[in-house]
Amino acid sequence: MITVENLTKTFPSQGGPVTALAGVTLDVRAGTVCGVVGPSGAGKSTLARCVALLERPDSGSIRVDGTDLVGLDGSRLRAARRQIGVVPQGDSLLRQRTAAGNVALPLESAGMPAPQRRSRVAELLDLVGLTDKAGNYPDQLSGGQRQRVAVARALAANPSVLLADEPTSALDPETTGSVLTVLDRARAELGVTVLVVTHDMAVVRRICDDVAVLEHGRVVEHGRVLDLVSDANSRTAATLLPEVDQSAGVAGNHDRVADVVLVGFAAVGALLPEAASRFDVQLALLGGGLTRLGETPVARFRVGLTGERADSALEWISDTGAVVVRTPKGPQGVAA
């Protein structure tokens, strides 16, 4: 696991010092995938470079399995770097080496003998699904394949933490999927703790257990993705959940209109019909939709309820664990 505490970093510039990180605290649970998102200029990249031990923070600590890695030098710094596998931003493969040669680089740094190196490289290429491309040079690989090689290289020295800095920024949505699958597999099969810095919410949607929203060098929201989507004020929820047309149903003749967020198979599948029959109300879907966060189906629907016990039905839905937000305006002329 990795714990970032109170990390600060200021860069000098002509217009005075610029604060990139203003005290970032972040806790990534062992064996989970945490996404760091935020607008450009929020400090994502600086955070990634600090965690990659490429940039030295002004203050704060970065602990991997309890050991602070900030402020090390020389051979201890190099040893610390081996604990954190890094998939750097952009094209980072050696163009004069094959895919296998690239994956072998960290093993050479670690002084692993050639025979062991070969079998380890084979294992890693298998993990990222590129066994048949072992002998190819980066110029012969697609963008997604190159990125998967970079992931295999990052995992080569058996790090406990994997840091990916914008791993999908140069890829189309389809290829993005293959890279994310590989990151997810690294977590599942090797138990690595993964930190993904990205501007792409699709990454959070697909593989992240946790998410941290960075803004102006600070974490403004941090938690489990599935918890955050159930939080009506969360901006993560706002971007991850299916959109609801705000005018939908407002002018209709339903007794109550509300947005309902449902998390999990059971809730998405059965909650609304059950509420309808239990309280004898007519329940109409006015908008919204269904999505998937990782493996979990999640829905946000705008529903219109008609019937005497509409309020009770909404209360029951809310009590069952779904998030219910009644539309602020509400329908006109309701006889309550």
Binding site: A52, L53, L54, R78, A79, A80, R81, R82, I84, G85, V86, P88, Q89, G90, D91, S92, L93, L94, R95, Q96, R97, T98, L105, P106, E108, S109, A110, N136, Y137, D139, Q140, A150, R153, A154, A156, A157
Partner: protein, 227 residues
Amino acid sequence: MRAATPWSEVFELLSVGTGETLYMVGVSTLIATLLGIPLGVLLHLSAPSGLRPNVVLHKILGTVVDLGRAMPFLVLLVALTSVTRLLVRTSIGPTAAIVPLAVGAVPFVGRLVQNVLREVHVSVVEAAVTTGASTLRIVRSVLLRESAPALINAIGVTTIALLGYSAMAGVIGGGGLGDVAVRIGYQRFDDRVLWSTVVLLAVLTTVIQLLFDLAARLVDRRRHAST
């Protein structure tokens, strides 16, 4: 005005001259490469954006390199006479010419190497840094290996520049094709010798260039791109 030198003598002159030229150029290129590559690596590493930033070292090396390159070769040739005598115990002949040729070429190679290394993308170098590789390993496995084709091209450029400079070695009795062209072709008004030398130098330049192009292509793995 005397008659043109017979062809048989021309061949004799040219073959001796070619031998001397290749000797001077070959050895001085070798020395310039062996000293220039480490110099270029140091310039690159010590730069503010380098892996081992060191302002003082970078400034000193930069100044030395600039001074070395600003010096006209002819001046270097005569200025180094005493150094040459110290190093090779003579101040005339091809071996003596190697000293100023190499000294002149080292800063040249250093700058070329620095520029070549700069072309290796930052993210590639940083990726190696994050693997915990030592600076020495990064220099060897990443910087030099990634830029090997460009380095070979740079050495090729140096060799051809030295071929040009070696013509001035005649000044200190260095011999070589330049000496043949000036002393016999020009000063004795022997057009046959003069133009034979010109043609031979052109051929030599072309052959050297071709060889370096070939070598650069051989070490460049990227050429296997289309399979």
